[in-house]
């Protein structure tokens, strides 16, 4: 006789009698984390180290599909690999170049994302970045005259992308770098593949600057993404979400110290051609899309907290169009949060003490 039959025939159990077995089973289930099948992958791609974790019955198959796509995009979008599609564009001397739909789409989508960002995100900054040595590691401080000349080559309005014929044309001398959006775009593509396999949840850590959490965690809780304290070893706080992309831009991991003793971060202000130095240590944004999140975190880092607030409240940024929340960690130790971020973010450590948030 099975237990279900026993329950059915035992009239003496009543409501309480049924509740207790249910509680026992619930307890057992809660103590067995990860009933969903889990697949995990670590890989070096897009000049970073990625960790992908997927839950679901077809987790391994789904992950293999995502891995293939990320590696494929890495091959196409690399600015340093001379055989990539991006390099062919950069070496085209102004001639239109036929590319894959992926490459045309990422450039097209990045340009659309950059439209409301008031020039703070420019894909054509590569000549300036090269002059500083950020792509080669041969760091130097370019002279003002040199920067002025190079800035003439920075103008995303002169990129021609045709997503119908998959061609890209770039004026001679100009060069693209998709480093600010490639990981986010790859994240979106990988997420779409994983969702097609009906996985129950995933966490795509594309090198800590771009993280996408989606679906259900095996323990049923919310995803918890810690935000590093850029000025210390601990955490500034934790973002809790049911599913979102979390992107961070900061200047404390990629920088160099010049002969003048000053430190120069790798994110450049497209207006001046110089590394950003505006009192912002790092900015984290929460969005639905990886590409939008990456584009936005870079642009907000350049713009600073005040202009970010203006952007947040502007008509271009209506929730229906481009939803985002932001968190600034400032050099003076303060935090600047958008209203929605206050609900997602819990400060920790030195930020939890004394109400640092503004």
């Amino acid at each position: 006789m099975n237990s279900q039959a026993t329950f059915g025939k035992n009239k003496g159990l009543g409501r309480r009698g049924k509740l207790i077995p249910a509680l026992v089973f619930a307890l057992i289930l809660s103590l067995v984390p990860g009933c969903a099948k889990r697949a995990r992958l670590e890989l070096f791609a897009m000049d970073t180290y990625m960790e992908l974790t997927v839950y679901g019955n077809k987790a391994e198959e789904a992950l293999a599909g995502a891995e293939y796509e990320i590696k494929d995009l890495d091959g196409k979008l690399s600015a340093t690999d001379g055989s990539s599609e991006l390099s062919r564009i950069n070496l085209s001397n102004g001639e239109p170049v036929s590319v894959s739909s992926d490459t045309a789409e990422v450039i097209h989508n990045a340009l659309i994302a950059a439209e409301p960002l008031r020039g703070a995100l420019q894909l054509t900054l590569r000549p300036v970045s090269l002059a500083w040595g950020f792509t080669t590691g041969e760091y130097r401080i370019p002279a003002e005259e040199e920067l002025e000349e190079l800035l003439k080559l920075v103008d995303d309005g002169r990129i021609r992308v045709d997503v119908g014929s998959n061609t890209v044309a770039l004026p001679e001398g100009m060069a693209l770098d998709l480093g600010s959006v490639a990981k986010g775009y790859s994240c979106d593509i990988a997420a779409a593949i994983l969702q097609k396999y009906n996985v129950s949840g995933f966490l795509l850590n594309m090198g800590s600057s771009t993280i996408m959490a989606w679906g259900k965690k095996p323990d049923g809780g919310r995803w918890r993404i810690a935000v590093r304290d850029p000025a210390g070893e601990g955490y500034a706080g934790v973002i809790e979400t049911d599913g979102a992309c979390v992107s961070t831009s900061g200047g404390r991991e990629r920088f160099f110290t010049g002969e003048d003793g000053n430190t120069y971060c790798h994110i450049l202000d497209p207006e001046t051609g110089r590394p950003v130095d505006n009192g912002v240590l790092a900015v984290t944004v929460v969005t639905e899309s990886g590409l939008w999140g990456d584009a936005l975190s870079t642009a907000l880092f350049v713009m600073g907290a005040e202009k970010a607030e203006e952007l947040y409240n502007s008509a271009d940024m209506s929730p229906e169009r481009r939803r985002f929340e932001y968190l600034f960690i400032m050099e003076d130790g303060s935090l600047v949060l958008s209203p929605g971020m206050e609900e997602l973010f819990t400060p920790l450590g030195r930020f939890a003490e004394g109400g640092a948030a503004q």
């Binding site: 307890l27 670590e42 600057s209 995803w223 918890r224 993404i225």
Partner: protein, 125 residues
């Protein structure tokens, strides 16, 4: 089955599972530094058993050299000949899920313990 039997089972489960969860939680707080080269673990160090700091040099045979500094409870790359020196700039790690990464050398140094807060990932830039 009698109600009291279920109560006994329920109490027994709590009695067994709570101490187990506590012990497992404590075990997770250890500091094992694993060093990976191209995804393969090449060295494992129990940082809690280190009493005096020391350095070691890792050479991948292709010109990438990283000097690792091990101290009680922490680890860092103190010098490297990679151009971007991101691994050196990452600094010392003592916990959390933030790894030290050297892309040119395909080197990853990770503390396998997870922080008590139970984060799923860390973001930073």
């Amino acid at each position: 089955m009698k109600t009291r039997v279920w109560i006994v089972i329920f109490a027994a489960l709590i009695a067994v599972c709570l101490p187990l969860a506590f012990i497992l939680g404590r075990l997770g707080g250890g500091h094992i530094a694993n060093i990976y080269r191209d995804g393969k673990c090449i060295c494992s160090i129990d940082l809690d058993s280190v009493t005096e700091g020391y350095s070691m040099t890792l050479d991948d045979g292709e010109g990438h050299i990283n000097t690792i500094r091990i101290e009680p409870g922490s680890i860092c790359v103190e010098d490297a000949n990679c151009p971007d020196r991101v691994c050196v700039n990452t600094g010392r790690i003592t916990g959390g899920s933030k790894p030290i990464i050297c892309m040119p050398a395909k080197l990853v140094i990770r503390l396998e313990s997870r922080p008590a807060e139970g984060f799923d990932a860390e973001t930073g830039g």
